[in-house]
Structure formats: C-alpha cells, structure tokens
Amino acid sequence: MRQKFGKFLTASSSRPRLLVALATVVALAVGGTLAGYAALTTSYRLTVDGETREVSSTGHTVADVLDSAGIEITDRDLVAPDLDEPVAEGSRIVVRYGRPVELTVDGETETHWVTSTDVASALGELGTPFGRAELSTTRSAAIGREGLALEVVTPKNLVLSLAGAEPVTRTVTALTVEEALAELGVEVGKIDKTKPALDATLDDGDRVVFTDFRIAKRKVKGEPVPFETVEEPDDSMYEGLSVTEREGETGARNVTYKVVFKNGKLLRRTVLAQKVLTKPTNALVRVGTASVATVGGSGVWDRLAECESGGNWATNTGNGYYGGLQFSLSTWQAYGGTGLPSNHSRETQIAIATKLRDASGGYGAWPHCASALGLPR
C-alpha cells in the first residue's frame, strides 16, 4: 500500500484531472457569454473559492479583470478561463486558490497543493480517495486557504497469533500494533508481550504475535517434601549389593508459589515463601564398592602372579625377570613402565600388564602359566 502510494507521490501529477475540471468551467463560461448581454458592458461575474460577486473592469482579458479586483494569482491557483483569454460583458471568471494539504499516510508525511475546498474533493484531486481508510477529519471537512493537515491510516491485512491460538488473518485499520490489538478488542496488560513491539508501525501483510502472561499467587498447605537418598560407599560390601540403613521419610510444608502462566499454560513456579512443617528424613543406603575380580579383572592377575612368582609382587631374583608377573625390563619399559617392576605396587604392575595383554589380545606373554590356568592366549 505504502509502496503504491509512494509511486503516486513521486509521479505526482494530478494534471490530467485538473485539465478536465478547467475544461468544464470554460465551457460554462463560454455558454454564458453566448447566451448573455451585449459585448460592450464591463461587468463580470467573479467566483473565488465558490463565492460569487460582480466586478467591474476596463480591461480586456481575464488577467485585467483579476487585477482590477485586486486578486493575485500564483501558479498554484486555478483560473478559468486562462489569464490571457479575452473577456466580455457578463463573462464568468472562476478562481480557486491553491492550498497545502499536509498528508500523512501511515506515518509518512508529504505536502501537496490542491485547489479543492473539501477533504473528499482534495483526495479525489490527488487521485487517492483512500476509500476504506480512516481519516483524521471528516471527508466533508472544508479546506481553507491556509490548508489542512490530514492523517490517513490505511486498512491492512494482518496475520495474528493471539494468546497461543492458531494464526488468523484480519483486516485492521490501524497504524501501530497497539492500535491494531485495541481495535480487535485484545487487552494488552503490562507483562504481556507483542512481536513486533506495541509502538511498531504496521505494514500490510505483517505478522503480529500477542503472548498473554499472567502472574498469580498459589498457596499449598501440607505439600510433601521429598527425601533424598544418600549413598554411602562401603568397601566391605561387593559392587551391586546395597543395604538400606534408614528408610527415607517424606516431610511437609506450607508454601506460597508465584505462578506464571503463558497463554493460559503454566510456565514456571517459584517459591515466594514457605514454612516447613516437618523436615524430610534422608534415606541412607550403604552401597557396595568392593570389586569382584572376574575373568579379565584383577583376580586373573593374582592367579597369574601366583603361578609366575608365587604371588610375590616384589620379587627380584637377579634372573632378569621382575615382580609378580615376571616382566623383563624391556617389556616393562615398552608398555610405559619406569624403574624396576618389582619396586612398583601390585596395582601398577597389573596396569602395565593389562596394557600388554590388551595389545597382544591375550595372555600369550605368560605362555606357560596362561596355559596352566586355561587363559586365552
């Protein structure tokens, strides 16, 4: 809409219509002359902005008559017949003064000169009747020589999502989001949100989202307070096993919530105030952490060490093999070991051994004992 109007403003010639109006006036004037009195009288009928009076002049042209009447013409004014046309007794001369119309369409202002004396005609003269638009004055309002400021709001098709409902299309004659919602009877509260913002100017085809927020207080009496389960590791018990030492007990409280609804649905709840009636008692559970050595676990290493070294993790007999799993120094170092294996803990020796086993895909590094223990090689 604005786009079209903009084109109009730049192309801005209302000239064709003005010519039609002039021609009509001239025809009337000529008709009057032919039907009238003898040609030598010097009395004329002059109509200025619709007011008609008799004027006398000794001149021979329209310009002469207007001079005699003390009327100054600029090129914004309309005169018929043309200024240099000859006049005769009884000729009719029509003058309409140009006047500025400061036209604001959907917030954009431009000044136009018109010769019409009322709003409806002026808009007609400008070629933009704005048939379904809202005007800041009545269409019949007069336009004086001083001109008029006129605001126009055009109707727009809007796609509206209101409070979470499915989007609907409505035609709304409004300049801003706020006006559009007001026109649709939507009350926008302080905490409600719109997109675009309330003061945003609308264009045809815009999408408007209105989100309804509501805040309320809710009191709940005797609300259960859940207990927590505290797990206490117990390395004297195996993994997977647990013992409930103390059952948990639910507590109770009176609580006041601040509740926020978004489009009628609960969005969040925050505690404003609470009074604990009875505290919950946490459940206490002992959870076993002792690892069960399974095949692939450390049990197998103990058995392997038993076979390799009699289970002596610190052994160093001077034969070039060290520790519980009888590492050679080169193998030990190849898998990241430092110093002598026999100086390291059982756990460290197992850690290096695990790397070796995983790298070789089995217990082949301990061929004799792996075979004796039935371990995969």
Binding site: Y238, G240, L241, T294, G299, L373
Partner: protein, 279 residues
Amino acid sequence: MSRRSDLPPAPEPLPRPVVDNHCHLDIARDGEALPVGEALAAAAAVGVTRIVQIGCDLERAPWAVQAAATYDAVVAGVALHPNEAPRVPDLDAAMAEIETLARAHDKVRAVGETGLDHFRTGEEGRAVQVESFRRHIDLAKRLDKTLVIHDRDAHQEVLRVLDEEGAPPRWVMHCFSGDALFARACLDRGAYLSFAGTVTFKNAEPLRGAARMTPRDRVLVETDAPFLTPSPHRGRTNASFLVPLTMRLLAEVRGDDLESLCEAVDDNTSDAFGGTWGG
C-alpha cells in the same frame, strides 16, 4: 546399569509366587549387571519373590554369600564350576576356601554348581573335574547342604560319579537337559529337576517330554540368568523376572493349572534347599 533398555519387557505376573532357584545376579552378559535391589524388585513384581544366587568360582562365591547375607529374598550356593575346577592352581586350597564360604552363613543353602561339563572342558581337564565333583558331593553331605549339579553332555558320567559317592539327601539337577529316560534315572536317585528357559526352545521336545513326566513334587524352575533366556526373547539378556515365561510353558506342557503348579514349585524349592526363607 546402562543396559536396562536392552532387557526384554516384563511378562504378565504369575498368580502365585515362585522361586528362581538358579541365577547369577553378578554376571553381566552385556554391559553392566542390574543392581541387585532392582533385579529383585523387578522379579518380585511378576511373582518371583525368592532367588538362589549361585557363585561358582573363588571370586564370585564370596559375592554370593554376601548377597545372601544382605537380602532376605536371596540364598546362596557356592562351588567351583566344573569348568573352573581345572583352572585353579591348587584344588585343595580352592576347596578349602569353598568350604569356608559354605560355612560362612546359614543362608548358604547349597553347594553348587558342581558336576561335569564335557562340552567346554576337554579330555585333559576331565580328571580334575571328576575329582572336584567328588569333593563337592562330600562337602554337601558333610555340611548338610543341597547339592546343585551342572551336567552338560555328561549325563551318564554324572550318574556314575554320583552313584559311586552316594547322592546327598537333597540334590538338584540344574538346567535339566535330558529326556524322559534320563529324568527317570535322576528321579530314582532322589533328584529335583530344575527347568530353565531351554524348555521353551523350539527344538527341545525331548526336554518337554521330561518335564511332562516329572512328578509335581519334584519340579523346580530357574533362569540361569543372565544365560538361557526363554522364548520369545532367546538371545537377549536373561533375568529372574522372565521366569513367568518358563512357568507358563511348563504348566501348558504338563497340563497343569498354572496357579497350583506355582504353589508346587514354591514348596518344592523350599524343600529342596532346606526350608523356606525370605521376609
């Protein structure tokens, strides 16, 4: 723990409680084992209210004892598995440890699983296997525990050793895998026959024949979880809460009313394991 979603869905609960008389709560087949508390709760929810936990090597047997000591619903069996026996460096020392564990708590009700496995242990290991079996039979008798026997592809050999040693008063043929004829031979020696998920397998008609002829006061049910998952979940991880699938099939092939068979199995298990237990 991370693999809970891999477990099959829970079957319809049983009309009366039964016992899963053979499972390995500590063994994870895929990922981590379910924590025992959860496994027991899931089982109880479908009517499997008691469990016999079997720990059958030197690492797992102490776990089984502690599980039995910790949970009302659980009793334990301890042993060296027939496939484990040839692997221990010192059978005497290992047996001494099993005996200590068997005496450690009155909720250790069974010595087992012991027996013979010709499927997984080759010729070279069989002498040790037989020796281990003999010592477990002796231990069960001395401590008045229930003997739980593992028999894989070794039916006649198991009976021969048992006859030579003399069967203890209460013994269970775990995951019974024979036909009606072998069932008869076991029953004649005072056995309880425990049926696992295998009885639901398509090709297990001889086994179903055995289930059909087993007297009602000798039938037991088990999972051997996490192994031997019953149809239609064969191949997935087994757990005690799947016992109802096996129970329903047993009732069907035997032409028994499910509720009364459950009652019989529950009573039989208490008898087989030296009296009832649980909360």
